[in-house]
Symmetry: C2
Subunit: 336 residues, 2 copies
């Protein structure tokens, strides 16, 4: 993969939505961190707080979620080299300016075909202008910083199709190619089973494994994971064991193979498996990682310095692109 | 009127759309200039170039239209005192940020009831997202700079109703009153007859009296105004004489009364009336006014200095409002 992605600019947007849990890690943060560590490749992380705002109900602090998300990404190993970037969406009004320039060249018909809009119409719930037009802001997110590769889960393929459509109309309309056409990096997005052993892990179901809770709390949640009535001695099918499925979503291959074998051999009870899951969890999210996360949250000065450096770079890229567009659109009178 | 408008902040937006003609002056520029001259009252002029961009076809240079419009407004007497303001819309991304904050609290149903949208749907022409959502940008225009009075023609009453609706939803949604509720100053918007004597004056009909053309060209256009076959001696009905109607739209009361009497008395031919119209036109738009306009266009340095001063003020007002909203929306993480 490394060779294929050489000299790419990859953009990942993540919506800050409250306390982070294992589902967030597996779906968004883990791949982002992996990308950031590949040399000769620029990885941009957009913390999409304007999209958090578009939610129907906001049950969390957006500003706190922003700092938690960025602290987590860094504590978990995002490579803060100069060629990468971390950008807070709402610090870039250029995104909305680009949205407006896109808006001239796209028709409402396109937006009426978007999944989220259709779903709301079917449910007979009113649609806000932010929900209706969010594919346009998303297209601006994806393109403004000049990214040419976007990791997407299969359920997000439409976003990128929309971005391509919008970008084509826009380039045709202004008669100039301003942005590279972004390509998808399709990703497996495994569904993480919640701690109830039944539903997908999600805050609304209250069945999450929080990433940075106290070890005691983590241990308690893991100990309470539901199991069937198999005895310790009986062999067990790993793929039917929720403990194993949780481990598999984040742990090293060694640990995963180890538990898989033990479960199949028997003489390995659910209690043992839970203990091993807890150790693996602590290895990934505990110790130095948790300490760094809590430090960054408590003393955000390091974060501020890093973010300011990245923000300067983000604004340079954004301003240069907007300037190029303004020239094409003849919007250049008396710029100061 | 002066007493009624004391300590008001009045905002007038004008769309730059190519060379200015008498219709533009009477409809927008003349009242704007009058407002600017009232003491103890702040008059803000928003040069709405983003709205020019939203037109289906752009047949003029936007940047040149911006500088022509501002030069005209100043040459014609806009009072450039400190408490007034001239703001170029596209220099304020805060307007689009406000648009986005509004967008969370308004539903597409509201926008589907707008006149321009309905007209396009009836004509079966595709509607761009800019056309669909322009009432939201207009609401941002009207409110961002804290204006509490907005001069509107009767055909624009819906804009202000939309702004009130949007503002109410927004204030309710964020639980705070950020902006004053703007009130309309209803204005007569007399329809200016074109030089063909038949249709409304408009660029698309090519029947305009341009404000700052060469005197010879103006004289030629005025001499070609259509008339009926009445002889010089016959008395004439001023209100059926297009020459008089044009004069009435811009000239001083004295001149208007004078021509009205002469026409009714008779022994005053169309040639005389045309001559008088030309003199009146030159008195208002020629001489020092035309000279100043041409100078400002040719050497825009004076304009730059003035606009920069106003821009600083505009950004102060806009940033303060946006900051207040960001606090209410909990969008305050790591602001630099």
């Amino acid at each position: 993969m490394e060779a294929q992605l050489k000299s790419c600019r990859i953009l990942t947007g993540v919506k800050p939505t409250g306390d982070l849990h294992l589902g967030n890690y597996v779906g968004a943060i883990k791949p982002l961190i992996k990308f950031s560590q590949v040399s000769q490749q620029e990885t941009f992380f957009l913390c999409a707080d304007w999209h958090s705002l578009a939610a129907k109900e906001i049950t969390f602090s957006i500003s706190d979620s922003v700092s938690s998300l960025i602290a987590a990404v860094i504590a978990l190993g995002f490579d803060t080299k100069e060629s990468n970037g971390i950008f807070i969406q709402s610090h870039y009004p250029q995104l909305l300016e680009l949205y407006w320039y896109f808006a001239r060249f796209i028709n409402t018909g396109l937006l009426e075909r978007a999944h989220a809009y259709k779903a709301s119409v079917q449910e007979n719930t009113p649609v806000s202008l932010s929900l209706f037009s969010y594919p346009v802001l998303m297209a601006a997110d994806i393109t403004l910083f000049g990214s040419n590769k976007v990791p997407v889960g299969k359920d997000q393929a439409q976003h990128l199709e929309y971005t391509s459509d919008i970008l084509k109309s826009f380039h045709y309309g202004i008669g100039k190619e301003i942005f590279p056409m972004p390509e998808a990096i399709f990703q497996e997005t495994p569904e993480i089973l919640g701690t109830d052993g039944i539903h997908k892990m999600s805050k609304s179901r209250n069945n999450t494994l929080p990433l940075f809770a106290e070890p005691k709390k983590i241990e308690k949640i893991i100990k309470s994971l539901p199991t069937d009535s198999k005895t310790m001695e009986e062999p067990k099918d790993p793929l039917k064991t929720s403990i194993f499925l949780l481990l598999k979503s984040f742990a090293s291959e060694d640990r995963v193979n180890d538990m898989s074998q033990k479960l199949q051999q028997g003489n390995y009870g659910y209690g043992h498996a839970k203990q091993d899951l807890f150790f693996a969890f602590e290895d990934t999210f505990g110790g130095e990682v948790r300490k760094r996360y809590l430090e960054l949250k408590k003393y955000p000065e390091d974060l501020r310095i890093l973010l300011q450096k990245y923000e300067q770079k983000g604004h340079e890229i954004a301003n240069q692109k907007i300037q190029e567009i303004r020239e094409s659109l003849d919007l250049n009178a008396f710029l100061f």
